[in-house]
């Protein structure tokens, strides 16, 4: 509002009070009298403070969730002509996702982050380098358990057909804890290497090649073994799942703190790289775990076990296996180990007291509660929407029992429509991701404006959308994941060799940033639903393609910028020469 409007509407009254009358006076009888007293908050005052506090946090998640969910459901209703099933449950589920994420993020900021900062800045002074690295590695495991999107992986495990993909079924259903543990180990290893990189200032390029080589070799081996082929999608997706809102800030806070106290911080590039490694190492880790399972058990045994399990499952369903108990157990199990681990480090190794215990405890409680609510929402909201959309999508081009008028379009138009749907979904979901905005700003600063924020955001978003549509195309047309993924990574490596260090850092990190807690479950569920509707062997692999494509997009953009800059400077040189000659 303009000041003039105020002047015309209100009479502004100034009251002057001497501050001397308000400040505490020394009192010999009460020694504590000079220290400001605790503020008593009245109910009205409290409401006035709470409203904007709750509103901003709630709206932040609404912005991330609602457009995506709306887009998927509207497409389902108007294009596929398939009414939304169980709409009330879906709405409640979505609300749970929003509330859960809002609570979880706030808890993360006020509860977990202070831990990370305190440990990061104090640890190097109180412990030797090997101890620091071990703690960082263990933290990697802890944060992986706490990652909201990792619950999505476990939740969708049961939808895999045991006969078609026995090893995928076995890993997802009977090896879930080892699976998360080994993914965590991958993240831990990434955190260790990332921290070492901060401290010694290593280049990221050789680390990328070193991390990619074993996973590429294992992928080629798995590709040749028919039974193992189906696990590839899961393994490569795991990398994208791990780098979410818990891992990235917490591991970064510690890594940067350590680099600063080692005297090597302050480089503009410190902070990058951990995300990259944390999305590459888990791939190898999951492939190795599957290899281990492969030597332990034959496909026939897995199928026999699964049949026996499904036969006995009907009789005894314990209370803990039912919703909402199972979601709550998952939520508590996700956060508690991390919190206990951080507490132990703080009290036994650092012996530091936290500055504001009440707020920290509030944050931790909020984290657990938020995680439980989010898990519930994952099952009933995001997951359900994704599954419904995925299952009804093929109605565009094939006959589906659930939709009478299917196939709605001819085969070519239908497939094109589905891929177009995926393109827009990927683009919108990525632009809505708040982490991308932050990355864009950092990059703009880092490159002195050569790489503009909007340029980065659009190249990442188009990369993701191309990746997701490639993934959908893979499912619909029944393509081989390895034959798409390996050449793309090959292209990524070639581009990496020719790019400058800044662009390599930014490009490889941008892939991890884009796959947040809303996109991952939605896309995973959609892929699995779509996969089962077109009776593909498995629906994984979309996320892995959504990771590599933005890397290629950003790297190519970087190379274009580099070429432009060098052309400009050579032009300027030529002009200068001309002037000199004249």
């Amino acid at each position: 509002m303009r000041y003039g409007t105020f002047l015309s509407r209100y009479k502004i009254r100034h009251t002057k009070i001497s501050y001397n009358d308000l400040t505490p006076k020394p009192d010999s009888e009460r020694i504590e009298s000079l220290r400001p007293a605790r503020i008593k908050v009245s109910l009205r005052y409290a409401l006035g403070l709470l409203r904007p506090y709750l509103q901003t946090r709630f709206m932040e998640q609404v912005k991330a969730v609602v457009p995506l969910a709306l887009y998927a459901t509207l497409f389902q209703i108007f294009v596929l002509q398939y009414p939304v099933q169980a709409a009330t449950t879906l709405l409640v589920g979505l609300l749970a996702v929003i509330v859960g994420l809002a609570a979880f993020m706030e808890g993360l900021n006020s509860g977990l982050m202070p831990f990370g900062n305190v440990i990061g800045s104090n640890l190097p002074q109180k412990a030797s380098m090997p101890v620091v690295l071990i703690i960082i590695g263990m933290l990697g495991v802890g944060v992986t358990f706490a990652e909201p999107a990792i619950g999505a992986l476990q939740a969708f495990g049961s939808s895999v057909d045991v006969k078609q993909a026995p090893y995928l079924f076995e890993v997802l259903n009977n090896w879930t804890v080892p699976l998360v543990l080994i993914v965590g180990a991958g993240v831990g290893l990434a955190a260790i290497f990332g921290t070492l990189r901060f401290v010694y200032g290593w280049s990221l390029k050789p680390l990328i090649f070193f991390a990619l080589a074993p996973s590429a070799l294992l992928t080629i081996y798995f590709w040749t073994v028919p039974d193992l082929k189906s696990v590839l999608g899961l393994a490569w997706d795991c990398g994208a799942v791990t780098t979410g809102p818990v891992t990235v800030p917490l591991v970064l806070a510690m890594g940067i703190g350590i680099a600063n106290s080692a005297g090597k911080g302050g480089s503009t590039l410190s902070g990058f790289g951990i995300v990259t490694l944390a999305s590459l190492f888990p791939v190898t880790a999951v492939l190795l775990l599957t290899l281990f399972v492969f030597f332990q058990i034959t496909p026939a045994e897995i199928i026999a076990n699964a049949n026996a399990a499904s036969a006995s499952a009907g009789s005894v369903v314990s209370m803990w296996d039912q919703t909402p108990a199972v979601e709550i157990v998952l939520g508590v199990r996700a956060i508690l180990p991390l919190v206990i681990f951080l507490f132990l480090v703080l009290f036994f190794i650092l012996k530091v007291k936290l500055s504001n215990k009440l707020v920290t405890i509030y944050g931790l409680v909020l984290c657990v509660v938020g995680m439980c609510i989010f898990n519930l929402g994952l099952t009933y909201g995001l997951g359900a929407i994704g599954t419904q959309t995925g299952q009804s999508l093929p109605a565009a081009f094939i006959q589906l029992p659930i939709i009478e008028s299917s196939p709605i379009f001819s085969k070519e138009i239908g497939i094109a429509l589905v891929i177009g749907f995926a393109l827009i979904l990927g683009f919108g979901a990525t632009l809505a991701e708040p982490a991308l905005n932050a990355l864009g700003l950092t990059v703009q600063k880092l490159t002195n404006g050569a790489f503009k924020k909007s340029m980065l955001m659009y190249s990442v978003a188009s990369g993701v959308s191309i990746g997701i549509s490639l993934g959908v195309a893979k499912l619909v047309l029944n393509l081989d994941l390895a034959t798409i993924l390996l050449p793309l990574y090959g292209l990524g490596v070639v581009l990496t060799i020719f790019s400058s260090e800044e662009f390599v850092n930014v490009a490889w990190d941008s892939a991890g940033v884009t796959t947040g807690p809303v996109t991952v479950p939605l896309v995973l569920a959609m892929g699995l639903g779509l996969g089962s509707a077109v009776s593909a062997v498995e629906g994984f692999g979309i996320l892995s393609l959504a990771s590599i494509c933005p890397i290629i997009a950003v790297l190519s953009m970087g190379i274009i910028i580099q070429i432009n800059q060098s052309r400009n400077s050579s032009k300027q040189n030529a002009e200068l020469k001309e002037i000199e000659n004249a």
Binding site: M1, R2, Y3, G4, F6, I12, P36, A37, R38, I39, V41, Y45, A46, G48, L49, L50, Y53, E106, S110, S355, N356, L358, V359, Y362, G363
Partner: protein
């Protein structure tokens, strides 16, 4: 010896406004509407209230934005009022602001501005 010239401004006030994160834009806009030339904005971390309110402290953002504006003595009350109203500082938790005297301010003063000022005297 080359002749260097420093123009010193007098009758100058500094208005500093510490705001909850995210409010600066609005306050700056209001200040510009009443004739402020420019402002310096920086981020800061506040302490005190947050720790003394117990659990309610979580509603107060630790991140603050600090606006510093240099104004003439004549402008000061007008800018001060406008910023106060735009920032809604009469509600709890929004921020605090103050005016301080500046003895002498020196910067680049464009030739024509300088001439018109000296003409008046």
């Amino acid at each position: 010896m080359p002749d260097r010239h420093i123009v010193e401004l007098t009758d100058v006030k500094l208005i500093t406004c510490v705001l909850q994160n995210g409010l600066a834009e609005e306050v700056l806009e209001a200040a510009k509407n009443v004739g402020v030339q420019g402002a310096t904005v920086s981020f800061a971390r506040g302490t005190g209230i947050r720790d003394r309110m117990g659990l309610m402290g979580v509603t107060v953002d630790e991140q603050k934005e600090v606006i510093r504006i240099i104004v003439s003595e004549e402008q000061a009350p007008r800018v001060f009022d406008a910023m106060y109203l735009a920032g809604k500082l009469d509600t709890p938790g929004k921020g605090i602001m103050y005016i301080a005297d500046l003895n002498s301010v020196a910067t680049y003063v464009p030739e024509d501005v300088l001439n018109s000022a000296t003409d008046k005297e």
